[in-house]
């Protein structure tokens, strides 16, 4: 024992002080303990004596222990061994007659797994080392523990503190890397070690005779690129036959640090956010999203208040359906991956909900390791983008008004001209005085958004936890508009060898308000020749009283309504709990159960003060002011059980089968009321209301929808080369007709991994080359329930009691809208992955469409749904990335994505003639006609403005020119669907600095320019008092001979919609510019107790260039933004 203590002192030269200075005390102490323990084993039989040097022995099948005793007796040598060493040794048969000790020992150990060494008078036994040619250790070999040490680093050599290593199949034997990425772990030779770290691909290394194992973990992006997460299962990308694209949370964050919708639209060309020119950058308006074009005719008549946009894709968050609002509010820092499932092969499992594609979002899961705390701050400043506004200044405006006849007496009474001249002179005086108010920026500010997210996770291999909290405070560019949200997550996972149980709970909420400044257009309309009133409580900027009623008008002070205490605000929360159990029955068969329960609440209250200008003419004070309250309370649960079987037969046939049963229920209830009449001075508390709306009743609606499905999926792969996918889903829903509760959906797909074929390998160009194609049928359930006649109660009674009325006539024979999708594509990585390419082509045939058609009112039906026509979408999309530089520390990539699609209708056979006539009468540019598209614009062709008269010349269908507008001359004059749209990007990573840039482009689409239509022409006499676009002054006809695009300036009559206002547009915008750096292994980081610090700066929507000059952001301006993200991971 004395000896061992001495040796340990020799072995460990450092004093404890030295160890502390090196900051690795804990580590060394652990190793020391282990070593000391091992020493005890080896040295337990130490003692000394001297005898003869040869042995005489005859043994037949004796144990080694007996033999050793005999040796010790005869020779006086002492045999050092550990009892465990003898456990698997063989029996010995030996006949020695005064044989020298060495020869004798050689003989008895020849066939044993042991070797010996004579050290003075000691015989020390050890295990024979495993040699390369003898890799398979004999089954009877006795393993002795060894200590493996090494460093865990990332791809660029940076240490990964907190990374874990464990022995495969023995998760309880693990170690955690220290601050420098060093680890040490007791294990046995032949063990397989698994190295893992969050965000990196787990790596396995077998322990051989090298006990120093340094591991470099690959970024997880690779990992996600190799699999497809369908939301139900994880599939190997190589054998998958569908068109998908996947992005990691990190990738999303290189584009935008606010929400994933803004990121996805730049990363994937098929994911299109429809520009909302009215709402601009209003944070409280949800984006409209389409994936691979429209499949449905949007019609409000078919949707109850709880149903979604029928062209919106399905969102799946951690395996369960979720709302667009949740996705938009989701903290981008929580996201592990987003997968876009585009075609039938990937979406058929979602059956009736899948026609518009599926977006699968997975949040990060905790990984074992010591407690890791990280903090992320996302800051953003938004600046209103008013560059598209082209408003007149004060003198231009007055000049325009004069020319347009605002001050010309039009009645037969000449005395009014005197009034008008007085008014004109007053305005002119203002202009001459230098009044030139720029109203546009008055309701605007620099919007500041900040998000703080704290996340802590850790645990051992059996139990992992994660707690997160995030809060975002947002103030948008219009003063008073905000959208704050918050979230708390708690994730717990338990692992045993066969069972994995997880529970993810999250609570999220938001708090919103719309600007009291109202619509931005109010400010765009304000006249520049008015001064900003010093007193904002003046309701009018000017009151014009001429005595002639059409000329009497009140010019409302835009500040006034903002200051009277009206509000429009909302708040809500959602509580979600996801529970999952995985049971690995055996290595081929796994059973999984998932459950989700969700409860939410959204409230909104809109108060319009009694002082609002709209009540200035209300004579009854008890009717001034209103308060509108509504509350939505959704509740849903969802449970599913699935089984996966996968097996490799004869090394070439790989089979995966998946079956799932699912049931879901969602209950929605809405409740609201309207109160009328408030005192002038009121804070909008409904308790101050005088009463309810006359004959108003509470606004209550409830709905229950249930859905269940049975899903089967089989994937077969031969030799990794040929793959076949079969999916089927049998969907039941209460939304289907009562006669037809279940609908089958399916898909069939195949893919061919050409890069595994010898003839492609021989080319030496392709690292990856896959052809894939599939066809399948999916459905669309985003319509309300229309199968049964629905009756509602009248809100009043009579002596006989209550009564009901038919509120919706059932359409029991209505066929549900199904879409047959055909898709094919090619994936290629070539020239050592220097070039990556994906091309997809698809066709979506929706047959039949469900159309809510307007019938003559005498049928007593409005918006009655029926099946008419088919819609065909054909499209292409491509993504290409080239890496001109690909070195260890410098990577530069250039990429382009693009999508183009064409849509048209068939087989309407003029059934929608009524709808078209109605659209024509309501000045709509859309028509539903065979061979044409919903994107097409219809108008009468204009030949321009006649220079002689200033009137518009139209082209009749028969080719003749005419001054007379006739709606029947309308033809297709353009399409809003661009020839191509997408993004191009470039990214550079240079020794830890990352920079990327994304431009998005739209090539050649037609737009009806509403500014030209509303603010250059079609300015009615009353609208002359609104500020207008400059072109109304400069580009309108004034005198004979003027060759101009717009009609006579003096003509205030309405202009019909004609092709003159349809313009071809191409745009390019700098959507995202990002630069970031990650600090690691810096001394100052240590000082701050930080493991790493990641800083990135962004700018989004910095500029927007369009070939068409029109106002963008009518009710709320668009914004450009500058953002900063800081992420700190603590030790």
């Amino acid at each position: 024992m004395q000896k061992s203590a001495n040796r340990s002192t020799v072995m460990w030269p450092g004093s404890t002080r030295w160890l502390r200075q090196n900051g690795a005390l804990k580590h060394y102490l652990l190793v020391m303990k282990l070593t000391a323990f091992l020493m005890c084993f080896t040295l337990m039989h130490v003692y000394a004596s001297t005898f003869s040097q040869s042995v005489t022995m005859s043994a037949n099948g004796a144990g080694l222990k007996t033999i050793f005793s005999e040796i010790e007796r005869q020779t006086g040598y002492v045999v050092f061994y550990n009892k465990a060493l003898l456990a698997n040794t063989g029996k010995v048969t030996v006949h020695a007659n005064n044989t020298p000790l060495k020869a004798f020992l050689d003989e008895i150990f020849a066939n044993q797994p042991l070797k010996y060494r004579i050290d003075g008078s000691n015989i020390v036994l050890t295990r024979k080392p495993a040699s390369a040619e003898n890799a398979a250790t004999p089954a009877w070999a006795v393993p002795i523990p060894v200590i493996v040490r090494g460093k865990i680093t990332d791809g660029s050599g940076n240490a990964l503190p907190g990374a874990t290593v464990y022995v495969k199949d023995h998760k309880d034997r693990f170690a955690v890397a220290d601050a420098k990425g060093n680890y040490s772990l007791k294990c046995f030779e032949g063990d397989v070690l698994v190295f893992s770290y969050i965000g990196y691909k787990a790596t396995e290394v077998k322990v051989a005779n090298n006990y120093n194992i340094n591991v470099s973990l690959q970024d997880d992006q690779k990992n996600i690129k190799d699999v497809v997460i369908t939301g139900m299962m994880v599939r190997k990308k190589e054998s998958f036959t569908g068109a998908t694209s996947s992005f990691t949370g990190e990738q999303l964050k290189t584009v935008n640090n606010q929400n994933i919708v803004s990121s996805l639209k730049l990363l994937d060309p098929s994911f299109v956010q429809i520009e909302n020119n009215l709402a601009g950058s209003n944070p409280n308006v949800l984006p409209t999203i389409e994936l691979r074009g429209q499949t449905s005719i949007t019609s409000s008549g078919l949707r109850d208040q709880f149903s979604n946009d029928p062209n919106q894709p399905l969102f799946i968050l951690n395996g369960f359906e979720t709302t667009l609002q949740t996705i938009v509010d989701l903290d981008i820092n929580l996201i592990a991956s987003v997968t876009i499932l585009k075609d039938a092969a990937s979406t058929a499992i979602y059956g009736s909900r899948a026609s518009n594609g599926v977006i699968v979002v997975e949040t990060k899961k905790p990984v074992p390791g010591k407690l890791r705390v990280s903090y992320t701050a996302d800051l953003r400043a938004e600046l209103p983008d008013l560059s598209s506004y082209n408003m007149m200044n004060a003198s231009e405006k007055l000049q325009f008004e004069k020319l347009a006849g605002a001050y010309d007496e039009m009645s037969s009474n000449p005395q009014y001209q005197v009034y008008l001249d007085t008014i004109y002179n007053a305005h002119l005086r203002n202009v001459l005085r230098g009044v030139n108010t720029y109203w546009l920026n008055k309701p605007l500010q620099t919007g500041i958004t900040q998000r703080h997210a704290v996340n802590a996770s850790g645990g051992d291999n059996t139990f992992q936890y994660e707690v997160g909290f995030n809060y975002r405070a947002n103030s948008a560019t219009m003063i008073g508009s905000k959208h704050n949200d918050w979230g708390v997550t708690l994730n717990l996972f338990y692992n045993s060898k066969k069972v994995r149980i997880g529970n993810m709970a999250y609570v999220s909420g938001n708090n919103t308000a719309n600007s009291p400044y109202g619509s931005f257009s109010t400010w765009a309309n304000a006249n520049p020749y008015y001064e900003i009133p010093s007193d904002h409580s003046q309701p009018y900027l000017e009151q014009i009283r001429t005595g002639y009623s059409p000329m009497n008008r009140n010019i409302i002070n835009p500040y006034y309504n903002a200051g009277v205490g009206s509000y429009d605000k909302g708040n809500g929360y959602t509580i979600t709990d996801n529970f999952q159990v995985n049971i690995d029955v055996n290595k081929n068969f796994r059973i999984q159960g998932n459950g989700q329960i969700q409860k939410g609440m959204t409230e909104s209250s809109v108060f319009v003060s009694a002082l609002n200008t709209k009540y200035l003419t209300q004579s009854d004070p008890a009717l001034r002011g209103s308060y509108n309250f509504s509350r939505l309370s959704p509740f849903s649960y969802n449970a599913n059980v699935s089984a996966t079987y996968s097996k490799l037969f004869a090394e070439r046939h790989s089979l995966t089968a998946y079956a799932r049963a699912e049931a879901a229920e969602s209950r929605n209830s809405a409740n609201g009321y309207k109160a009328i009449g408030f005192p002038d001075i009121s804070n909008g508390n409904p308790a101050f209301a005088y009463g309810y709306e006359q004959s108003g009743v509470p606004n209550v609606a409830n709905s229950v929808t249930r859905r269940n499905s049975f899903i089967g999926s089989v994937n077969y792969s031969y030799d990794g080369r040929y793959n076949v996918d079969l999916n089927a889903s049998f969907d039941g829903s209460t939304a289907f007709g009562s006669n037809k509760r279940y609908q089958p959906y399916y898909s069939v797909g195949g893919s061919w991994n050409l890069h595994r074929e010898r003839f492609i390998k021989a080319l030496g160009i392709f690292d990856n080359l896959r052809l894939r194609g599939n066809i399948g049928l999916t459905g669309n359930q985003n319509f309300g329930n229309v199968s049964e006649s629905v009756y509602k109660y009248y809100s009043s009674i009579n002596g006989f009691g209550q009564g009901v009325y038919l509120s919706a006539l059932g359409a029991p024979d209505l066929k549900w809208q199904n879409t047959l999708q055909t898709s094919f594509g090619i994936d290629a990585d070539l020239l050592k992955s220097r070039v990556k390419l994906q091309i997809n082509g698809y066709r979506k045939l929706t047959d039949p469409l469900v159309v809510a058609i307007t019938l003559p009112s005498s049928t007593g039906l409005s918006d009655y749904p029926f099946n008419a026509g088919t819609s065909v979408v054909n499209g292409w999309e491509f993504m290409a990335t080239v890496y001109p530089i690909f070195k260890k520390d410098v990577v530069w990539s250039v990429g382009i994505t693009g999508a183009l699609l064409k849509q048209h209708y068939k087989n309407f056979n003029n059934k929608l003639a009524g709808l078209n006539k109605e659209l024509q009468n309501s000045n709509s540019l859309t028509r539903y006609k065979d061979g044409y598209s919903s994107y097409d614009l219809w108008a009468v062709v204009s030949q321009g403005i006649d220079p002689a008269t200033g009137r518009e010349v139209f082209l009749r269908k028969d080719g003749q020119q005419t001054f007379v507008y006739d709606a029947t001359d309308q033809v297709r004059v353009g399409t809003t669907n661009p020839k191509a749209q997408g993004a191009f990007n470039s990214a550079l990573s240079y020794y830890g600095i990352r920079a990327s840039v994304y431009f998005s482009y739209i090539y050649s689409r037609d737009q009806f320019n509403t500014v030209l239509y509303n603010k250059v022409e079609n300015i009615t006499y009353a609208q002359l008092s609104n500020n207008q676009d400059r072109r109304a002054l400069y580009d309108r006809w004034k005198q004979p001979g003027d060759v101009v695009p717009f009609k006579s300036i003096a003509d205030s009559r309405s202009t019909p919609m004609s092709s003159r206002f349809v313009q071809n547009e191409s745009t390019i915008s700098l959507s995202s510019l990002n630069i970031g750096y990650e600090f690691r292994d810096k001394r100052w980081l240590n000082a701050a107790n930080l493991a790493s610090l990641n800083i990135s700066a962004f700018t989004n929507d910095l500029f927007y260039i369009s070939t068409v000059k029109r106002e963008r952001g009518i009710d709320f301006p668009f914004a450009k933004s500058v953002s900063l993200s800081v992420r700190a991971t603590f030790k």
């Binding site: 049963a661 409830n702 209460t734 009756y791 009112s857 005498s858 007593g860 039906l861 029926f866 006539k917």
Partner: protein
């Protein structure tokens, strides 16, 4: 292997359990099967039509006391330029506000018709939950309602029948669905109406308790009432027949039908002074004579919005401000007439205003919130107009005049004087019930006395006919 079997068993179990689970019934509305699972459902459903009749665009105000009487020039319509009655008063049917109003009338009428057709189909489909008598009653009421609605559509949207009965203007539906009906000639629509009425009459004769009651229009002190004259009863159907024949100008048939109702006059006794004086009933609508009417619990709101004398003169529905139109032209200076005594009052204004629909003591009694749609007096007026024998004709008219405390027509009055007297009686009798305009139209009056000027107003035939709204013609 066990696990596979368990899974399979569980799946099968799940699947069979699903069927019931998938059967979701909404909470805030009825599905058809639920509704018609009992007689109570049919009762609730048919009562829906009587409640629906109270819609402001229908008999709750537009087709009775407001728009229709404005068209008959009984009032100065409001000067509120946002009120559709403003253009209606001058028959500017192309005005956007007027268009909107006419469209609402058309659409609501046809929505009711679609509802009735749907109800008739439901009686056929689910009627087995009731006895045959109940089925007959519901069928009869529904057919009667359908005829009632179509007849008013004819009276509004087609020219006077004797002027043109073949013009094709009205779609006619007997079932609800997306099959679009062609425009039928008016005479064909009238034939459909008469067919419905005949069928309804047969069904109700057997099933309607009113046919056997000694008195149908009993006044009740109870706040609730279930008297049959608030439903499309047997006598209402018969009276409608008289109204329909009268519209067609078929005098003998109209006379016969009117007399058939008059034969049972005792079931709808004349209102007496005691009834009128009783503040409880405040029987200003002559409820005992009402063959059919509609109970409207928000009637007071309509009154307060249009007729209450405290309203501003620009909003108030009242004749010109001297009172001469009411006092002289309508009531010919006879203030003892019950209809003047109890329906017109001088309060807060210097001239009489219309108080027929004022719930005086807010009693909540049914008769205080009832709009009559068919009354016995109309039968007597039809009989007086159709009876070829002058003396008998006069006796029919005098019956009303005496009961109203107006005094009889002189014995030597000529047939021309009788005709004028009938006109004047229509003008006195149906104020607030919307019948006068149809009388003018049926008689193709070329000049009527306007209440806002108390002077004659020239009428063109275009004034009498609403245009078919765009919501009907556009989608065709």
């Amino acid at each position: 292997m066990k696990i596979y079997i368990y899974t399979l068993a569980l799946a099968t179990l799940g699947f069979t359990g699903c069927k019931k689970w998938m059967d979701v019934k909404p909470e805030d509305k009825f599905l058809e099967e639920q509704l018609y699972s009992s007689r109570q459902g049919f009762e609730t459903s048919i009562n829906g039509f009587y409640l629906g009749n109270n819609d402001v665009n229908l008999y709750g105000s537009t087709l009775t006391m407001t728009t229709m009487d404005i068209l008959a020039q009984l009032y100065s319509a409001s000067f509120d330029s946002k009120n559709p009655n403003y253009p209606m008063q001058s028959y500017k049917y192309s005005d956007d506000l007027a268009k909107g109003l006419i469209d609402r009338i058309w659409t609501k009428m046809y929505v009711n018709i679609a509802g009735v057709n749907n109800f008739l189909a439901a009686v056929d489909k689910y009627g087995s939950v009731m006895d045959s008598s109940a089925r007959s009653m519901y069928r009869g009421e529904a057919l009667g309602l359908r005829a009632f609605y179509y007849l008013d559509l004819v009276r509004m949207f087609t020219p006077a029948y004797t002027q043109d009965s073949t013009v094709q203007l009205l779609p006619y539906y007997t079932k609800v669905g997306n099959d679009i009906s062609p425009f039928y000639p008016t005479n064909q629509v009238m034939q459909f109406i008469l067919d419905d009425l005949t069928k309804a009459e047969q069904l109700l004769l057997a099933a309607d308790p009113a046919a056997k009651q000694a008195r149908v229009s009993a006044l009740s002190t109870a706040r609730e009432r279930t008297t049959r004259n608030y439903r499309m009863n047997y006598y209402a159907v018969k009276a409608l027949k008289a109204r329909a024949y009268m519209w067609m100008g078929n005098k003998p048939a109209a006379l016969a039908a009117a007399k058939a109702v008059m034969a049972d006059q005792s079931k709808f006794p004349w209102t007496n002074t005691d009834d009128l004086k009783s503040p409880e009933y405040s029987n200003k609508i002559f409820a005992t004579e009402m063959i059919m009417g509609t109970e409207y619990i928000r009637l007071l709101d309509i009154f307060n919005n249009n007729f209450i004398s405290t309203l501003d003169g620009t909003v108030l529905l009242a004749p010109e401000s001297t009172g001469a139109f009411i006092n002289q032209t309508v009531f010919e200076g006879i203030s003892a007439d019950y209809r003047y005594q109890y329906n017109w009052k001088i309060v807060a204004k210097a001239y009489p205003t219309f108080v027929k629909y004022q719930d005086t003591n807010n009693s909540g009694y049914a008769s205080n919130r009832t709009v009559p749609l068919i009354r016995m007096s109309e039968m007597y007026l039809i009989a007086a107009e159709c009876e070829p024998d002058l003396a008998t004709a006069k006796s029919y008219l005098n019956e009303i005049r005496i009961k109203r405390n107006f005094g009889a027509l002189s014995d030597n009055a000529t047939s021309v004087e009788l005709t004028t007297a009938i006109l004047k009686e229509y003008r006195r009798e149906f104020i607030g019930e919307g019948q006068l305009f149809y009388f003018y139209k049926r008689t193709k009056a070329t000049s009527i006395i306007a209440g806002n000027t108390n002077k004659a107003l020239t009428m063109s035939s275009a004034n009498y006919t609403f245009p078919i709204p765009l919501s009907e013609t556009t989608p065709r």
